[in-house]
């Protein structure tokens, strides 16, 4: 009972400060959370403070003498046609705009979510009508319905809110309906009902938490959409009336004077854009915060890592250069002299520097601006390159640093030089240039040397272990159909590299059926894909060679490989439904590869297809070929898959769990078909299965895989008689056999298969092995021959210790 007490202790300790809760960590796990927090903070502060700080006079007092002014120290964004401050008016409109948007969205959310959820629980016919109604409403452009409803409710702020609340509810109703009807059928809801939990608990602890993420994202998006819609209505003059104004109305005023004072329209437009972004980010980040999967993932991330993530070189380069470009290209448009943006900039710089010596600017300023601008563009380029190509990130960072350093020193020197002495400026620019040049050369040298060291080390490590044994295996099987040596698949994941297929050596003789057996995660399917050269991203395949009919397919040119494998190798997959294209007729899918690779067409091709269908015992093949996969039953589909594989008379068929998705009776039929094909056409089959029973029934030899390695390679006839790998032994014992004693517990394998990212040292099976001894934890046992046809990777069998023989 002591351990139960520990659990209560843990509970007691789990009260954390808000910013350390899993919710908040997950919330901040992406930059958008950070942005959402800042933007929302600014918005809320503006909404609360604007009416307090700004007086009505600030925003309503007309001053016709100062109308339509450009930005100045008095009016940071300029003035409107009545001489009122644009910035102040934009800020002042914040609370009203937000209020309208949130109340419209709130209404739409309440109406939509309730009607959707209610519809989901209506009885049959009513439910159909409800769904239909929602669909019909959805077909109409929301804004048009809103406009129509404004006519009903009257053109006012309240009317606009009501209209949008109603017009936007169908789309939310649809979401709620889909979620509610989807979640009701889930297993965990069923299990909660069976457990006798109250409806209230099921709703609040099972349904709502599981759809909350989507609801939150949808609600925030709806609020953003409502903001846009309210502003649109105000913009059209159908929303806020009289002396009141929101952002939409400000834009209406601005659009009329777009040519004179662009900021009049652009300032409120930007405000809408930023608010929309903030709402989108907030919804996304809140949803992330509620996801328990992220709680555990982010628990290990230190705040320092976050800092590094946000302020890494590529982000700095990108944001810095963007900022510079905005300053250089965008801001001058709003300056007093749109025709001469440079002058605006330099004026700004002068004001910043506190100097009033405006006469001196012109000297040398042309060249200075040119340099600064090109510097910003280069920085942007470097940012983009380093963002997308990790390989060049470091060099870009340093180059960017040099750029920034150069630009800054130039700018400073310009200011310091009292604007009268271009020589000083030039000197400092030259200094920056040489400094950059030297740094660049050094850096390139370093990167080159790094890279060559990496490649040398990497190749060495991968190849070494298998070399020694190659000669022995080659001698035993003189002409195998397929020979793979050192087959390895490696995934470089964020959490570190894993090697799910590790140094596999195998031979398949002509006409064999070889089974590959192992638990999930043992790498058996990936081995098959690796042999077929179809390793999924980001897996990297390496091998000394993979020879099919003596040709090394790892070095074959792509075009040749396609033809060669297309006619020599076929694959059959687990799920026959999803493995066939639902939109294509069976006939098309059966024949397309033959058409491409062997250029057979027309009658001859059709005849071939009929023959292959007969091979797998599909009757009425003529009609069947014209049907679509959904018209086939599960067993028929798998037969069709096999027929498809047979079309080009391949010498090797790789069947990856071909019967797992099927019923036992169908499984038996498919196994018979495979056996027949092997016997009649001599096709070699590599059969991958987790079910050793299936393999014993049909195969002549079995490869047992564990944690990415072959641990045993043995003839089926010897499987029951000779000493085996302890894992093979356990695997066979764990199957409830038909003649076993039902009163005894089943033999099981204690423990779990190891995680590939955390393999134990030595033999991967050692932690679960009943015969384990010291050496097993120290070295990985190699796959060695114990007799001519039997290979085992176990010290107990290949090199038994003195005392182990007693067992």
């Amino acid at each position: 009972m002591s351990s139960a007490a520990t659990y209560s202790d843990v509970r007691a300790r789990s009260y954390l400060a808000f910013w350390r809760t899993p919710f908040f960590r997950a919330f901040l796990s992406s930059p958008s959370g950070f942005l959402a927090l800042i933007l929302t903070g600014i918005l809320l502060a503006t909404a609360l403070l604007a009416p307090l700080v700004l007086t009505r006079e600030d925003v309503y007092q007309r001053n016709v003498r100062r109308r339509l002014e450009a930005p100045s120290a008095d009016h940071v964004l300029g003035t409107d046609n009545l001489g009122r401050d644009i910035l102040k008016r934009t800020l002042y409109a914040t609370p009203l705009t937000l209020q309208l948007a949130t109340s419209a969205a709130g209404m739409a959310i309440v109406i939509g979510f309730t009607s959707g959820a209610v519809t989901a629980y209506l009885p049959g016919r009513l439910r159909k009508i409800g769904v239909r109604l929602i669909e019909v409403m959805l077909a109409f452009p929301g804004i048009l319905i809103a406009i129509m409803l404004v006519a009903v409710f009257g053109t006012s702020a309240e009317g606009a809110v009501l209209a949008i609340g109603i017009a936007f509810s169908p789309s939310l109703a649809r979401v709620a309906y889909t979620l509610a009807s989807g979640v009701a059928g889930l297993d965990y809801i069923s299990s909660a009902r069976v457990l006798g939990l109250s409806s209230r608990r099921i709703v609040f602890r099972y349904i709502i938490p599981n759809i909350a993420e989507t609801l939150i994202v949808v609600s925030f998006n709806a609020t953003a959409a409502a903001l846009v819609a309210v502003s649109s209505l105000s913009f059209l003059g159908l929303g806020v009336q009289g002396t009141q104004f929101d952002w939409g109305r400000l834009i209406t005023e601005g659009v009329l004077r777009l040519y004179q004072v662009p900021l009049l329209a652009l300032a409120p437009a930007l405000a809408i854009g930023i608010t929309g972004l903030a709402l989108g980010f907030m919804g996304e980040a809140l949803a992330r915060g509620l996801n328990p999967v992220l709680w555990t993932q982010t628990a290990s991330i230190q705040s320092r890592t976050w800092l590094r993530r946000y302020f890494s070189s590529e982000y700095l380069l990108l944001s810095g250069s963007t900022l510079l470009l905005i300053v250089f290209y965008f801001l001058p448009w709003f300056g007093p002299d749109a025709a001469d943006p440079d002058r605006t900039l330099i004026t700004g710089a002068t004001i910043l520097a506190g100097s009033s010596n405006l006469t001196a600017i012109d000297i040398g300023s042309q060249g200075a601006m040119l340099l600064l601008r090109s510097g910003a563009w280069i920085a942007l380029l470097l940012g983009i390159v380093s963002y997308f190509f990790e390989r060049y990130r470091r060099i870009c960072a340093v180059l960017g640093l040099i750029c920034g350093f150069g630009a800054a020193s130039y700018f400073v020197s310009l200011l310091l030089a009292d604007f009268g002495n271009p020589g000083t400026a030039l000197a400092s620019a030259q200094l920056g240039f040489y400094f950059g040049l030297i740094a660049t050369i050094l850096l390139i040298l370093q990167v080159i040397s790094d890279k060559s060291a990496e490649t040398r080390g990497g190749r060495h490590a991968a190849v070494a272990p298998s070399e020694g044994r190659e000669a022995a295996t080659d001698a035993s099987l003189p002409q195998p159909l397929l020979q793979a040596r050192g087959l390895t698949v490696r995934f470089d994941l964020e959490s570190g590299p894993i090697v799910p297929v590790n140094d596999i050596n195998l031979d398949l003789a002509e006409g064999e059926i070889v089974g590959v057996v192992g638990e999930s995660g043992s790498g058996k399917s990936l081995t098959a894909l690796a042999i077929a050269q179809l390793v999924p991203h980001p897996g990297v395949l390496s091998a000394q060679h993979v020879r099919l009919r003596g040709e090394d397919i790892t070095v074959m040119p792509a075009g040749e490989l396609r033809y060669f494998l297309g006619s020599e190798m076929a694959m059959i997959f687990q799920d026959p439904m999803s493995s066939l294209n639902p939109a294509l007729k069976i006939g098309t899918q059966l024949t397309e590869a033959t058409r491409v690779h062997r250029r057979i067409r027309g009658k001859q091709l059709h005849k071939m297809a009929l023959e292959r269908m007969a091979d797998v015992h599909i009757s009425a093949a003529e009609t069947r070929l014209k049907q679509y996969p959904h018209e086939f039953s599960g067993g028929m589909r798998q037969r069709a898959m096999i027929a498809m594989g047979l079309m080009n008379s391949p010498s090797l068929i790789i069947a990856d769990e071909p019967t797992t998705a099927l019923d036992v009776t169908i499984q038996a039929q498919i196994i018979d078909v495979l056996r027949e094909i092997n016997q009649e056409q001599g096709t070699t089959i590599m059969l991958i299965s987790h079910d050793i029973g299936v393999i014993i029934e049909i195969c002549s030899r079995v490869l047992v895989m564990y944690a990415g390695r072959i641990v045993e390679d043995v003839k089926i006839t010897e499987l029951m008689t000779t000493d085996k790998h302890p894992y093979t032994e356990a695997l066979i014992a764990a199957v409830p056999a038909f003649d076993s004693n039902r009163d005894e517990p089943l033999a099981s394998i204690p423990g779990r298969p190891p995680d590939l990212d955390n393999l134990p040292a030595g033999c991967a099976f050692a932690p679960r092995c009943p015969y384990v001894f010291e050496r097993c934890h120290e070295e990985t046992p190699p796959l060695l021959h114990v007799d001519e046809t039997h290979r085992i990777a176990c010290f107990l069998r290949t090199d038994p210790p003195e005392d182990a023989t007693r067992e």
């Binding site: 959805l138 452009p141 009257g154 329209a265 963002y387 997959f573 397309e592």
Partner: protein
């Protein structure tokens, strides 16, 4: 419900099952579509008809003018048929619509049909060009980005794509329109605004109206591309060593296009909504501009007519999309049962 009603109801249902059972999948599908089209159109008529009841104030007063005499108002009431019981009014309304007679504007005294004839071509021109842009841009873009970011490749490209599209789909049409007008018309002076005379005049309105749908459709197409690429049948096609163009054209594209088509109807509805706003920014003389005027003046026949017209177009397009889908994807015929 009495028992005779019940049996009648039942036999009706049986007749229908019998009837549909005898037909092939195509006629059965078309029959069902036609029936649902009929239902939706009926709902549309009812909704627009009810508009006149929902609006505040007396339409007859509206039509006659504020300073009209009681007789004048009574006359207008008769002329509008408002003295009749509701169902008679509704029948007259439906008859009118069937004759393509949507009534006369209160303000301009112009028949609404004429307004539609004058204005709709401009709106259609704008929405059509918009749709063309949407399809031409978002489908290739979505597929391209989808292919580049499959199986978690190019994570950063994905981030860029997602942030650009989410920003653009949060961008209101009038905002886009204002920005575009400012940059291309005001600052650069490349393109004209506020006119329909020049052929280039449609460029800015069409781009403004299509930016949001482009972004949202491109996201859908990308997701669908990822989805299709992760399907087992693509792996099967690769295991058959089909050349890339065949995998793309035969296995990827049709399945992606099906998904794009499915929401194509919604996209078009969104586009039509966008035109209302954009027409007002660019002074584009379409229905959008007219409907706003009508709402200002509470010119009900015009509002009614325009909303009904838009609705019918959307419904017809959705039906067309459904039929197109059934042509492209054989499963649709079965699944719609």
């Amino acid at each position: 419900m009495t028992s005779s009603q019940l049996t009648l109801h039942k036999s009706n249902k049986e007749t229908l099952t019998w009837l549909t059972g005898r037909l092939g999948p195509w006629p059965r599908f078309l029959l069902k579509r036609a029936m649902s089209l009929f239902v939706v159109l009926a709902m549309l008529l009812v909704l627009t008809f009810l508009l006149i009841y929902m609006v505040p104030g007396d339409p007859a007063v509206r039509k006659a003018g504020i300073d009209a005499s009681a007789e004048q108002i009574e006359f207008e009431r008769k002329a509008l048929g408002l003295d009749q019981p509701a169902h008679v009014q509704f029948i007259r309304y439906v008859q009118g619509v069937a004759r393509l007679d949507f009534g006369t504007s209160f303000i301009t005294k112009q028949p609404v049909t004429e307004v539609l004839q004058q204005r709709f071509p401009r709106t259609f021109q704008l929405a059509g060009t918009g749709l063309l842009i949407v399809m031409m841009v978002s489908v290739p873009l979505g597929i391209l980005i989808g292919a580049l970011t499959r199986e978690g490749r190019n994570r950063r490209l994905e981030v860029v794509f997602m942030s650009v599209t989410s920003t653009s789909s949060a961008m209101p049409e009038f905002l886009t329109a204002t920005f575009l007008a400012f940059i291309f018309a005001v600052t650069l002076n490349w393109l004209p605004v506020g006119t329909t005379q020049k052929s280039t005049a449609i460029i800015l309105p069409a781009i403004s109206v299509s930016l949001r749908p482009v972004a949202s459709l491109a996201r859908v197409v990308r997701l669908e591309t990822l989805n299709v690429l992760a399907q087992d049948y693509i792996r099967t096609a690769r295991s058959k060593r089909l050349p890339a163009y065949l995998i793309f054209m035969r296995h990827l594209l049709p399945n992606v296009l099906t998904a794009a088509l499915t929401i194509g109807g919604l996209v078009f509805a969104g586009l039509l909504g966008g035109t209302v706003i954009v027409e007002n920014v660019f002074a584009w003389p379409g229905l959008g501009q007219r409907v706003v005027d009508a709402v200002f003046n509470l010119d009900y026949p015009v509002i009614q007519g325009i909303v009904l017209y838009f609705g019918m177009i959307v419904v017809l397009i959705n039906t067309a999309v459904d039929i197109l889908l059934a042509l492209v994807d054989p499963r649709t015929l079965v699944l719609s049962e």
